[in-house]
């Protein structure tokens, strides 16, 4: 075993840190409070450096950079509180288009995604199907040379600023559910699409998108007709591993340490002197190291071309469940002062812990609920039968 980073990866980490110190400002982070977890200027600056194309396999025409560098980029961005959603979606969609799309998509869309001038979003879930993605019933029917799409998608986060949605559709309703699916990359300015905001209990907004007789040429199809599930697997492969949020907690822990060291309790002591606080902080820091281990492990597997579905599920499960716990512990530690939201000028560090507290519950839901991920571990890792 060897947990050292090769010198080029260490160099890359320095580069990323310098980049973020220069290019990511508090004002940019502040601006995400409108609910859109995307910083266009930062995204384009990253594209310029080739960091969006970097993680895409070279065989597909991407940068082919080591998965270790992807995880480093992820880690450093999350530590610096930069949103990573757009980066993740871009890499995944580009990789999918390069692996499954035809020349039209590869030549006209991918370059614009990777240079940061276009943005895509995911259209998997539907109002009636969340965890059960494969049950999608948004229809895509042939109509001459074209496809006619009707249906609705839920949780199409970023759709309101994106140019494309990667849409999972049903092209054959008469076969088992996994076998009648097809993907399309749908330009969001196509007539017949309506985008409605879905506000949440946290800062971020999501969207519902509606498709009413949306007409599309076959060049927008991604992968084989009825071959959608194999495209989906590519997406999940990326999503639960290197593209995920394994470093959700560090900004919260940083804020908690700051509070613990600087706040004075009614009895004149500081929280950092309290053994209950100290133990919670150490437990949180341990959880972060566990996440780090998982993240590096997934990256190492990816680098070696090993599928890491189970490991990705473990990473996602552990990172999100522990993050939720950390948010609660440290929000509690602040007592009433922790209740102040970002809108209050008095809120500690701009209400960072409060904001994370409200954000945290969704992390054990989206991108595969904890229950689904445990099923994956039970079946895929422990070889247990399908649950009853």
């Amino acid at each position: 075993m060897d947990f050292s980073f090769p010198p080029e990866a260490e160099a890359f980490r320095s580069e990323v840190r310098d980049f973020l110190a220069t290019n990511l400002t508090e004002e940019m982070i502040e601006a995400t409070h409108d609910g859109t977890m995307h910083i266009p200027a930062l995204h384009r600056a990253m594209a310029e450096r080739g960091w969006l194309s970097g993680p895409v396999p070279a065989a597909l025409g991407g940068g082919g950079r080591s998965a270790l560098e992807s995880v480093i980029l992820n880690e450093e961005m999350q530590l610096a509180r930069a949103p990573i959603d757009a980066m993740g979606v871009t890499v995944i969609v580009a990789a999918i288009l390069l692996e499954h799309g035809d020349d039209h998509l590869k030549q006209h869309v991918v370059p614009r995604l990777l240079d940061g001038s276009s943005l895509a979003c995911f259209g998997y879930s539907e109002p009636e199907f969340g965890s059960d993605v494969a049950a999608a019933k948004t229809r895509a029917e042939r109509d001459g040379d074209e496809w006619l799409i009707n249906g609705a998608k839920m949780w199409t986060t970023m759709a309101h600023i994106a140019d494309y949605v990667l849409l999972l559709t049903r092209t054959d309703p008469d076969v088992p559910k996994h076998k009648g699916l097809s993907f399309f990359l749908v330009p969001l300015n196509t007539p017949g699409i309506e985008i409605q905001p879905v506000p949440t209990m946290a800062i971020e907004r999501s969207n519902a998108t509606f498709y009413d007789d949306v007409r599309l040429g076959d060049e927008w199809r991604v992968g084989d007709v009825n071959g959608g599930w194999s495209v989906m697997k590519t997406a999940l492969k990326y999503e639960r591993g290197i593209a995920g949020g394994q470093f959700l907690s560090p900004p919260v822990i940083d804020a908690a340490v700051d509070w613990a060291q600087n706040h004075t309790r009614p009895d004149g002591t500081k929280p950092i002197e309290d053994p209950t606080v100290r133990e919670k902080l150490i437990r949180a820091l341990i959880d972060v190291e566990v996440c780090r281990g998982f993240a590096y492990h997934c990256a190492d597997l990816a680098n070696q071309g090993v599928m890491f579905g189970v490991e990705g599920s473990m990473t996602k499960l552990f990172a999100s469940e522990s993050y939720k716990r950390h948010c609660r512990d440290f929000h509690d530690m602040m007592g009433a002062e922790g209740l102040l939201t970002h809108e209050s000028a008095d809120a500690h560090l701009g209400g960072r812990i409060e904001e994370n507290l409200r954000h945290s519950p969704v992390t054990t839901i989206y991108g595969g609920t904890s229950e689904i991920n445990r099923n994956v571990v039970a079946e895929g890792h422990l070889g247990m039968p399908r649950a009853r």
Binding site: S125, E128, F129, G130, S131, D132, A135, M154, W155, V198, P199, T200, M201, A202, S206, R265, P266, D267, G268, T269, P271, D274, T276, V277, K324, R328, H331, D332, M333, M334, G335, A336, E337, G338, L339, L340, T341, H342, E343, S344, D346, E354, L357, R358, P361, V362, T364, I365, Y366, T369, S370, E371, R374, A387, R388
Partner: protein, 338 residues
């Protein structure tokens, strides 16, 4: 021994269930949150049916109801997240009645106007921070070193933006002490703890109920999600804790009412346990709602945020455990710990 509600208590429950169901649907809760955490109409309605003075002495115009009756109402109030300071107002008015000498004001409070509250934490430099209903309360009772102060300065109407959408505000208070009955103050705080525990039980039960209802309708993988054992086990755990909290909260309130020697201890315990049970319940319900629970549109997020906020008004729960430990084991030796 009668661990279930009496006929009288069931009648009270019934009346307030009808009232809150009609007058405090989640549309009212949402509207109140947009406008600072308080519903003037709901408060007026509550006063009309006697909810603002029910547990005050009949002699001054109150309803002479027991604290146990009030706990029954607090439970229903919690279930509906009613955006009015029912508990704080009642506790403040009862404290004032206990202190005596303010019969006229207590009589007015019984009718809901002016609106009273208590500062849960002692003022520092004359300012009580995070006063519940502080944004709208006309009367604030607080505890300073010397005793209890009564402040009648006008509320600012400005709410501190907060997790729970509550009408919290800082208040600058007078330092005119109206009573040195420290025990009465502590008893009032314990009433707040016991009644808030009861409210948490109502909240927790309701959020489980909502989740179970959703689990019957929501179909995934071809079956209602309510048939999944993982989800059932989570709700069963949550429900067990909530029913345990219910028994503890009501026992604490009964003990306060009948002045049992362990009343304060039980009230402190009930609040901590009920808050944790309700927060567990909201967490499970939100998780099993999937993404929808997180969306503003569904009510479960309203419950989640209030479950978080209610107890934190009092401060870090860890300090409440420490307080109980001081009572149980004495303060730690050598003054090493507070």
């Amino acid at each position: 021994m009668q661990t279930r509600l009496t006929e009288d208590e069931l009648a009270v429950q019934d009346a307030f269930r009808t009232f809150f169901a009609n007058e405090s649907p989640s549309t009212v809760v949402r509207e109140a949150e947009r406008t600072g955490g308080f519903s003037t109409e709901l408060w007026a309605g509550l006063a009309t049916i006697g909810g603002t003075g029910m547990a005050l002495p009949g002699a001054v115009g109150g309803g002479d109801a027991t604290l146990c009756d009030l706990a029954v109402v607090a439970d229903v109030y919690g279930a509906h997240l009613a955006p009015v300071p029912l508990i704080e107002h009642a506790v403040a008015a009862r404290l004032l009645a206990t202190i005596g000498g303010h019969d006229e004001l207590v009589g007015e409070l019984a009718n809901g106007t002016p609106l009273a509250t208590i500062a849960l934490r002692p003022p520092v430099d004359g300012i009580a921070r995070f006063v519940p209903a502080g944004a709208v309360a006309d009367v604030v009772l607080a505890h300073v070193g010397d005793g209890i102060v009564l402040d009648r300065s006008a509320p600012s109407g400005e709410t501190l933006p907060n997790t729970g959408g509550l009408a919290l505000a800082h208040r600058r208070l007078t330092d005119d002490v109206i009573s040195v009955d420290h025990a009465a103050w502590n008893h009032a705080l314990d009433e707040w703890r016991g009644l808030t525990a009861a409210a948490y039980v109502g909240l927790g039960r309701r959020v489980i109920e909502m989740g179970v209802e959703y689990s019957r309708e929501r179909v995934q993988f071809g079956v209602p999600i309510g048939t999944f054992q993982a989800l059932q086990q989570g709700y069963a755990d949550a429900s067990t804790r909530i029913e345990g909290a219910h028994l503890l909260a009501h026992r604490a309130v009964w003990a306060l009412e009948t002045r049992q020697p362990d009343a304060s201890r039980l009230a402190g315990m009930a609040l901590l346990f009920a808050a944790e049970a309700a927060r567990f319940a909201t967490d499970r319900s939100m998780q099993y709602h999937g993404g929808y629970g997180f969306s503003e549109e569904y009510d479960v997020q309203l419950y989640h945020r209030r479950a978080t906020a209610w107890i934190l008004q009092l401060g870090d729960p860890s300090l409440e455990y420490a307080r109980l430990a001081d009572g149980e084991f004495g303060p730690a030796v050598d003054g090493r710990m507070a």
